[in-house]
Symmetry: C2
Subunit: 248 residues, 2 copies
């Protein structure tokens, strides 16, 4: 026996899928009127649709049908493994060049810090927990809208005395790691799917009910030593991650 709010949600869902609401949903008072229920019930129905990522609400403006147009995110392209071409250009790193190629305007804010290694970072970089590591925190924007965060962690001795330690938005053709004398030859990418923390929601200005991918890339040099770990937080409504397996 479906509840009232469930039946309302089902009804609205099929209307949405049928294209009845190109943009705005009926207002709460309208739905109260239409279904003859109390406001709480209407809101429960909308919350159910929101939890499926179908609708979104903006205070003062109302409920609307959610639109997605994710940018393609190709982790393969951002590194230089020999068989990939160097996509960097003057004033752009590999990511920015890729965004520009997709007709979008990239931007980023960079912060440099020295922090104690978290358990995750310590394990990836093969250092002791609590040991000092260098982190370059980047907030990437596309068309002036927050797009993703990308925080790169380096063992102290890898970063020391290299351009990695320059605060600000350093662009080095060929990449920071090569400049630092640590060419990476392989990577391990770990992807977890989860809901964002309160802090991530704020930092990325995420709408409610937007899941994220946590992409942890650890790069190894020729000697097999981990020299960098990048933690990228990718909001689901803005990304499609693409890998090419077995391609030459």
């Amino acid at each position: 026996m479906p509840s009232k709010s469930e039946r309302i949600a089902d009804d609205l869902r099929s209307e949405i899928n049928g294209g009845v609401y190109p943009k705005h949903m009926p207002s709460e008072p309208e739905l109260i009127e239409r279904y003859g229920v109390s406001r709480g019930t209407v809101r429960a129905a909308m919350a159910a649709l929101a939890s499926e990522g179908l609708v979104i609400v903006e205070p003062g403006r109302g409920w609307s049908v959610r639109r997605y147009d994710p940018l393609v995110w190709e982790p393969d392209k951002f590194e230089h493994l020999g068989h990939r071409r160097d996509t960097t250009e003057a004033g752009h790193d590999a990511w920015q060049a890729e965004a520009a190629a997709q007709q979008r305007t990239p931007g980023q804010q960079v912060e440099l810090a020295i922090v104690k290694a978290s358990p995750l970072i310590a394990e990836r970089l093969n250092v002791s927990e609590g040991e000092s590591v260098v982190v370059r925190k980047r907030l990437r924007l596309v068309d002036s809208v927050p797009y993703q965060t990308a925080d790169s962690y380096y063992p102290m001795d890898v970063a020391q005395g290299t351009p990695i330690m320059d605060p600000g938005d350093v662009i080095i053709p060929g990449g920071l790691m090569t400049a630092a004398g640590h060419r990476q030859v392989r990577f391990t990418d770990e992807i977890s799917i989860r809901m964002p923390s309160k802090e991530e929601t704020a930092r990325l200005s995420l709408p409610a009910m937007t899941p994220v991918a946590e992409h942890v890339r650890t790069g190894f040099n020729e000697a097999g030593r981990p020299v960098r770990t990048i933690i990228t937080i990718l909001p689901g409504d803005r990304h499609k991650i693409v890998y090419y397996v077995g391609a030459e």
Copy 2:
């Protein structure tokens, strides 16, 4: 000025992170008592924590702190590209062998069907929209709990007259595609992060607020023709996806 429910949520969140509740959260009446608010307010606070994936509720049993122990999912391992070893064994396909290696008990339910190609499938398999394609729908279980769905789509002529068309759980050492005479040499993997639909939530018995990854793998044969598209739905609380880039 944070709202009452927000302050309650903040309070409980730090308690959770501090390990105050190894398992169960206080009941709603207890929280009403503790914070001197109405039930709706307490429930709003819990809903906020639930939306971060921190807590979960089971009717009749109460709220509890959510636990995660994702299985590692390595898309690289499930295909035979020459430089990967064949992990299949008698009675197990590549995925089942992998699950067994992680000390879990795999299982799967298979359904065979012929359906009209959706726009997504038509584009991936390079067939016309609405054209008939063969689909093997699998629901994979680990320790008897739903783990993921994996639906493989084949162009009609690829599947015709091959073991692909056998209904039921067919195991072929070396893989179905090789048996069908279509060795795949490369793959395109597209990963989207989103909230599950109502149907997916039911099929996978997902707890509330569990995001999923939609992993779309399209395989190409030597001639560059797409011969299979697999759509895998991976619940975030049960998976960690791992790729190895540039590894030999």
